[in-house]
Amino acid sequence: MRLIQKLGDWFDLRLQLSTPIRETAEHPVPRETASWFYVFGSAALTCFMLQIVTGILLALIYVPSAGEAWNSLQTLNHGIALGWFIRALHGWGSNFMVAIVLIHMVQVFLFGAYKFPRELTWVVGVFLLLVTLGMAFTGQVLRFDQDAYWGLGIGASIASRVPVIGPWTVNLMLGGPIIAGATLSRFFALHVFVIPGLLIAFVGLHLLMVLKLGINEWPMPGRIVRRATYMQEYHELTHKQGVPFVPNAVWKDILFSGFILLSIAVCAVHFGPFGPGGQPDPTIIQTAPRPDFFFLWLYALLSFLPPSAETPILLIGPAIGIIVLLALPFVAGEGEKSWKRRPIAVLTILLIAVTLGTLTHLGEHTPWSPVMDAWSSQPIPAEYLQGRTALERHGALVFQAKQCHNCHSLDDKGGQRGPALDGVALSLTEDQLIRQVIQGGGNMPAYGKNLSPAETTALVAFLKTLHPANQKPARNASQAMALGASEVPPR
């Protein structure tokens, strides 16, 4: 024991670190902050450290070359002992990190932690969110498969819409005229050097400010933040009623971080690594590229924006979002901290959560995309064909052969791009059906050039049978009258 003590003393005389470390560990924190609500920041840091370790391990094998990356991922998955596990840890660690950073941000927002004097801590936190998302996106590119290739295409298409400098931005982003080796190399440099460097610097600043300014106290309704008095009040909270960070608060951080690491490992073992998907060969076009989970909401949004509004919203929207986040502590730097007295803050969080949740859900199901193989793989249900005339059944054939089924569902099978047609005869008359098929409109292509008159007649005859047995199809009453009058036989 004496030897260890002597060794410790030898190092401390030279490093002079034991005092600052002890002071940091034992710094007083408000009693109520030793709470399970205050564990997300440290859990995010734990995830980040796991990402650094697993990232370095992956870099031992991974080849950042467009021609070899995909093969080296296959080697990691199948050729190296437990390579699949390291990849799975890194992939799931990424998902957990983004999720925990978001939860941390919501907690900090609802607890009013961004108010005086912690404005800069929040601002750095916003940058941390951005670089975390930057890591998630660039990491998805390094998993160089079809999704990564076409995802880069989507990124380039968005970048190209920037006025004036758009085309240059694309070349700069791709490192050349097309998505190729230079593209992967620069995303590798971003993912492995540039963004982690920023991340480490921002984490250091963020932690330093948390230590220097003290952790945000538990918000009490009615305890108002004022610039003139806050520092004094916080000092009393910590030094008169406070508890030392170690061990009173830290055990919850440690337990939760351990639980998160365990969860990541369980997910990694159970679900395995992400991809890689198909080879990044641009001549293989039988693919439906999709981004990773945390960008699905954006993918969904891109299909719903009207064409005319898309470019401005894509380019201005993110800028506004970031400005709002950065401006928040300067606009609302004082006042009530408790979420119980901040209904608009709570509603904002709920609104954002519902919006992102809905868009993510839609992004998983992509109802706006035609089901490319519905016409050949999903037959028309038998009950839609029983008791039909030959003409109507021929119309059903046209419905399949002309790929109507790719966008229109029958009995919940087929695409959802256009409306389901199970009851179309209730809402459109024969003439309206013909017009819609031939001229299109309302986001449907016109089929006038692709259907012969006989095919159109048959198709519309089939569509006219699509109504519930107990409801009559739509008809043009005035036309019936007029036709009826003309058909009255002369006396």
């Binding site: 693919t287 790929q403 050039k449």
Partner: protein, 181 residues
């Protein structure tokens, strides 16, 4: 050690040092920025956009639309298969052609041709185009990107070399408008 004008010699030397480093910094920044901007600056060198063969004309029967591939004119050894680019060739009447980029005019996903319904459909956000490349429905603002083509020695050649994007639709001076039925 104080000079007559009140500035100490050491303070002046610090300023000199900072100034010298500033000069060197700028001198280094210029080549660094140039290096970073090389994808933009090297721009339109000869060979950047070239006439590339898509194969013999017999590969593209009259009245049909077929997938063709070409090797991008500027490639490195380590680009692997990413240097191979696909495009759609429509032979209208044996003499007139249309060559469409594979990339959807919305956000660049690969469009697929359906001869039965004579439509190009995009798997990403549901864009659709008619057989002449004009917009049929969905989020795209315009028709498919088109390459310039010419016929030489029984082969179909296109001018290509850059991924077409909404901000820079390669070689498409005619826009997405249909040129024929």
């Amino acid at each position: 050690m104080t000079a007559e004008n009140g500035i100490s010699r050491r303070a002046a030397l610090v300023k000199l040092g900072v100034f010298l480093n500033g000069i060197v910094g700028v001198a280094l920044a210029v080549p660094i920025v140039r290096y970073l901007l090389s994808p933009v600056i090297r721009g339109k060198k000869i060979g950047y956009e070239s006439w590339l063969s898509l194969g013999r004309l017999e590969r593209f029967p009259s009245g049909q639309t077929r997938l063709a591939t070409y090797k991008n004119p500027v490639v490195n050894v380590w680009d692997g298969e990413t240097g191979d680019i696909a495009c759609w060739v429509r032979n209208i009447d044996g003499q007139t052609f249309q060559v469409f980029a594979i990339n959807c005019a919305h956000l660049g996903c690969p469009v697929r041709w359906f001869p039965q319904s004579s439509l190009f459909m995009c798997p990403c956000h549901g864009g659709a185009y008619y057989q002449d490349g004009s917009r049929a429905s969905g989020p795209p603002e315009r028709g498919l990107f088109r390459y310039h083509y010419k016929i030489e020695g029984g082969e179909l050649l296109i001018k290509a070399g850059e991924m077409p994007t909404p901000g820079q639709p390669v070689a498409n001076k005619a826009g997405g408008k249909s040129t024929c039925a």
